[in-house]
Amino acid sequence: MSAKLEYLLRLGDNDVVLAQRLGEWVGHGPVLEEDIALTNVGLDLLGQGRMWLAYAGEVEGKGRTEDDLAFLRDQHAYRNVQLVELPNGDFADTMARQFYFDHVHLLLLHALARSTDGRIAEIAAKAQKEVAYHVERSADWVVRLGDGTEESHTRMQRALDKFWPYTGELFTPDAVDIELAKRGVAPDPSTLREPWLAAIGSVVKEATLAMPDGEWMQGLRRGGGKHGVHTEHLGHLLSEMQFLQRAYPGSSW
């Protein structure tokens, strides 16, 4: 598998898996506005994921469409980071996961918009405008909950701490990242870490919360989600997402 194909699957799978998680909130949001907002963010991600996976299918050259890639791959073939597959938990959990992801997502898309690969640059330029709103929204919620009641403060802090060990994978380069960075196709993810820390740090401070500082990070020694090593949660997510195509292969709308 070429480095570019591998990388496109990572981009697409992050979006699709997180979109599926956000879709689980349909009908369960704490208030109607938030129900709608969560799923609109999910819809943006689904659209972006579709563009990445469609391109991945073209790069692979075996005739697989974005639908084939999304609905007919098993969990070990998925290349998303573990952070995005973790369960929704309570609203603070969902927002902490989103907060960490949105901020690195925007940094990444800014860099990809300057990719030497024209198609990647084009998709990233489109996506970053959408993600700018995601960043604003999740940051707002971290501040609102952190600087809210004693209960919301406690839960927001607990959520930030809980997802923190899954952020290491976002910034740890492997051979694929290094090769693409050399070719100017994608940034070395380790270069995104400092600006990410600065961005989330200022929000966490405004929220009167404490930055987590644990050093142990999940998924580094054995490869993590980027290499198909997932938490126990992804399989369950995919079994629901892929059910229709697995039970009724080839059925169409």
Binding site: A37, H110, Y133
Partner: protein, 190 residues
């Protein structure tokens, strides 16, 4: 990146002077392309039917190649569920005026911006009860949009509050008028 962008607030005083920009009319195939533009002006956006797809700025170009009409369309948002429906509506509308040799091409670059919504389209949005978007100053750094003053499309009051960055569709935010108390949609600068 997430540096906050105070320039957005500064840009809220007035709507942008820019007109939506399209390929100029004229040239040897002008008559057919003019017919296409006129026909497309009747195609409403499925989710915001107050404006046409031309006023929304998503029809990027119309040209003729070897007797075939080539139309370039760009999506508003990546996940916009109306994209396929818009393609169907374009084909049906053109078939109704006798044009069936039509190629629809999806383009991504340059990415769609609300600055391409025609002034007439913005006026119709306001009439429809949707506050039209302000000019986009720095798209990549949009932040803290709530600092913008979004006048109520019903009573004109400037005392309004953001309820949520996302409304009935991804392209809109939800606001509430603090004077007339009505909730309303705001078409987000994008």
């Amino acid at each position: 990146m997430v540096e906050t962008t105070p320039t957005l607030a500064a840009a809220t005083a007035s709507l942008p002077p820019e007109e939506a920009q399209f390929e100029p009319r004229g040239g040897p195939s002008a008559r057919t392309t003019d017919r296409v533009w006129d026909a497309l002006a009747d195609v409403p956006d499925p989710e915001v039917p107050a404006v046409s797809i031309v006023e929304l700025g998503i029809v990027r170009n119309v040209s003729m190649t070897d007797g075939r009409v080539r139309i370039e369309v760009t999506p508003t948002y990546s996940g916009c569920p109306a994209t396929e429906m818009i393609s169907t509506m374009i084909r049906e509308r053109l078939a109704a005026v006798g044009l069936t040799d039509v190629d629809l091409v999806m383009t991504l670059s340059p990415p769609w911006t609300t600055d391409w919504i025609a002034p007439e389209g913005k006026r119709k949005l306001a009439q429809f009860g949707i506050a039209p978007p302000h000019a986009v100053v720095n798209v990549a750094g949009i932040s803290r949009i709530r600092k913008a003053t979004v006048p109520c499309p019903r009573c004109g009051s400037k005392t309004t509050s953001l309820l949520s960055q996302f409304g009935s569709t991804a392209c809109k935010a939800q606001y509430r008028c603090d004077d007339c108390r009505e909730p309303f949609d705001y078409f987000k600068p994008h």
